[in-house]
């Protein structure tokens, strides 16, 4: 089959599958978090942990719960890695070095899954299962909980209560993530991904060399890794490894899983606020940006006139691309993994053409709102929608309201803090890296490409994506420490501001619709929101993009 036709069929099949799941999964997510009854297993967990499931939290208490939960999680994950050699199921792995263990702990608790190590040569089975995989469930559930609390800011009035963090995390894990992960694991195993606790096998190859064949519970980790937009991988090469992603069926399944929950969450939003058209408007924005990015990267990776002499001679941009999937499969995966907060890869992002690489960098810089990470995409686009309503109010004299709540200076201050946090982190750390010898020593590529690698690294970590432009020595202590701080602040500071905004909205009385209310369910609003997203990000990151991928591409 013609590869262009195959790419189109794959794209259309993916869109159809996601569209089919939008209503049922979105309704199920809404029901999960609005159900008045607790399941028996949930009641058991609450009893065991001393949680009162019917106690509602103020926004600040909700935030404190997140911070306390995550602090303990970072320390626990660090401890497991630092002691794994003395624990069972280490499969002979040494204790993880301190800087890598800390960076990894910060990475997995923040849903980033940035990896400075080769998983199959560093982590034993216990660290993978009880450490990393547990956090893949927990960090995803935390992100979803924040989004649900944010939605409650719209649905509740004259209260300072946003729900119960422990109940939201428990329900998100037990009712949503676990069942989907079991199904995903079985499908991946059916597709050929491995799932075992076998010791590594050393075999003699036909040429007489020795090769170590790793094992592992790969399919189960792959499922939650994608469904929870965690990223990374059991293997260093992530989804380019045949044990993790054996064939085109598992490849499209992985892409489907990493887009599934983020694209369905707007439906849950629409359902919870009692107006499904609000959900359709937000998902339309997500689809437009995601589809445009897929088209852009596919164009630059398959039209060889833009790729330079080497790819033209090879009849394809095959450097760093897994030949089983080719440039179209790489493009679809790369965009889907960077528009969500996944970060797992099936090809080498550093090998993308300058413009293709620039687009995936922009995807992450957008704040991952199209469709974004699990939960994080939802609260990110809600803040942007409020900014759009405010801007529209200034431009055409409409009352700045969104879903029956006024957007006042207090809400705009939270929105401004939310959007200033990541650029400040990313650009400050990048400036320190390129301005000091500690950072410069680990930049292995000169010129604009080297700058792109540094910008990409801090953008990916702050936005909790986790994918990387290799070529940067990010295992150097400087990048391990600054990267860990970047991930922690990039994850939790925006969540603090988002929940503060939700608390502010919840305290308001509802505002009835009037002739002056801007209708946020129309194509006009969708177009305005897309424009605000691009302008806001464009103005913030354009200088860095101009000196990095744009300069390299135009050279």
């Amino acid at each position: 089959m013609n590869s262009t036709l195959a790419a189109w069929l794959q794209f259309l099949f993916l869109v159809a599958a996601l569209a089919a799941c939008y209503v049922p999964l979105g309704n199920y997510i809404a029901k999960t978090f609005t159900d008045k009854n607790h399941w028996r297993v949930e009641r058991g967990i609450y009893k065991l942990t001393g949680v009162d499931p019917d106690a509602d939290m103020r926004w600040a208490v909700y935030v404190r719960s997140i911070l306390a939960f995550s602090l303990v999680a970072v320390l626990f994950l660090y401890l497991i890695q630092r002691t794994q050699h003395w624990l069972f199921w280490s499969v002979g792995m040494a204790n993880v070095p301190t800087d890598t263990a800390w960076n990894t702990a910060a990475s997995f608790v923040t849903n980033t899954n940035w990896q400075n190590y080769a998983g199959e040569a560093t982590m034993g089975y216990l660290a993978q299962q009880a450490g990393l995989m547990v956090q893949q469930f927990m960090s995803a559930a935390v992100g979803l909980a924040v989004a649900i609390a944010m939605i409650r800011g719209f649905t509740r009035s004259r209260t300072d209560r946003l729900g119960n963090f422990w109940v939201d995390v428990t329900r998100g894990t037990i009712r949503l993530l676990l069942p989907l992960a079991v199904i995903g694991c079985i499908l991946l195993m059916a597709g050929g991904a491995i799932e075992n606790l076998a010791n590594y096998h050393t075999i003699t190859t036909l040429s007489g060399a020795h090769q170590t064949i790793p094992g592992g519970t790969v399919a189960s980790q792959e499922a939650i890794k994608d469904l929870g937009n965690n990223g990374g991988g059991w293997f260093n090469t992530n989804a380019a490894h045949p044990f993790e992603n054996p064939n085109p069926f598992t490849d499209i399944l992985i892409i489907f899983m990493l887009l599934l929950i983020p694209f369905s969450t707007p439906r849950a939003f629409g359902k919870m606020v009692g107006d499904n058209r609000q959900g359709y408007a937000l998902v339309a924005v997500m689809v437009i940006i995601w589809a445009a990015a897929v088209g852009g990267v596919s164009f630059f990776e398959t039209h060889l006139g833009t790729a330079g002499v080497g790819p033209q001679l090879a009849h394809g941009t095959y450097e760093g691309v897994e030949t089983r999937f080719g440039p179209p499969g790489c493009s679809l995966f790369a965009v889907s993994t960077t528009t969500t907060s996944t970060g797992s890869v099936n090809c080498f992002h550093d090998s993308l053409t300058p413009f293709g690489g620039g687009i995936v960098l922009l995807d992450i810089a957008l704040g991952e709102i199209a469709p974004g990470g699990i939960g994080a995409g939802m609260y990110g686009i809600l803040v942007l929608a409020m900014v759009t309503v405010f801007v529209a109010g200034l431009m055409v004299g409409r009352t700045p309201e969104y879903i029956g709540k006024k957007i006042r200076p207090a809400e705009m201050k939270y929105a401004a803090l939310y959007f200033l946090t990541l650029p400040v982190l990313i650009l400050t750390f990048t400036a320190i890296a390129i301005g000091t010898k500690w950072g410069q020593e680990a930049i292995f590529n000169p010129g604009s490409h080297g700058l792109t690698e540094v910008v990409y690294a801090y953008t990916s970590m702050a936005n909790n994506n986790g994918s990387a432009f290799a070529g940067l020595g990010s295992a150097a202590p400087f990048y391990q420490i600054t990267g860990g701080i970047d991930m922690l602040l990039g994850r939790f500071l925006p969540e603090i501001f988002a929940l503060g905004l939700a608390g502010s909205l919840a305290r308001q009385a509802p505002v009835p619709r009037s002739a002056g209310t801007l209708d946020t369910r129309t194509p006009l609003f969708v177009g305005m929101l897309v424009g605000v997203v691009l302008i806001l990000v464009g103005l913030t990151y354009f200088p860095a993009l101009a000196l990095g991928p744009l300069a390299e591409g135009l050279h």
């Binding site: 970072v74 660090y78 301190t98 922690l488 603090i496």
Partner: protein
């Protein structure tokens, strides 16, 4: 055996979370 660098990273973790907690307290104070 616990190395000095282990304590460094434990303290660093606590400092980063304490910083975020202070931001939260600051916002709460500002709100009131």
């Amino acid at each position: 055996m616990w190395y000095l660098s282990d304590w460094f990273y434990v303290v660093l973790t606590i400092v980063v979370f304490a910083f975020m907690y202070l931001i939260l307290k600051g916002i709460e104070t500002f709100e009131r």
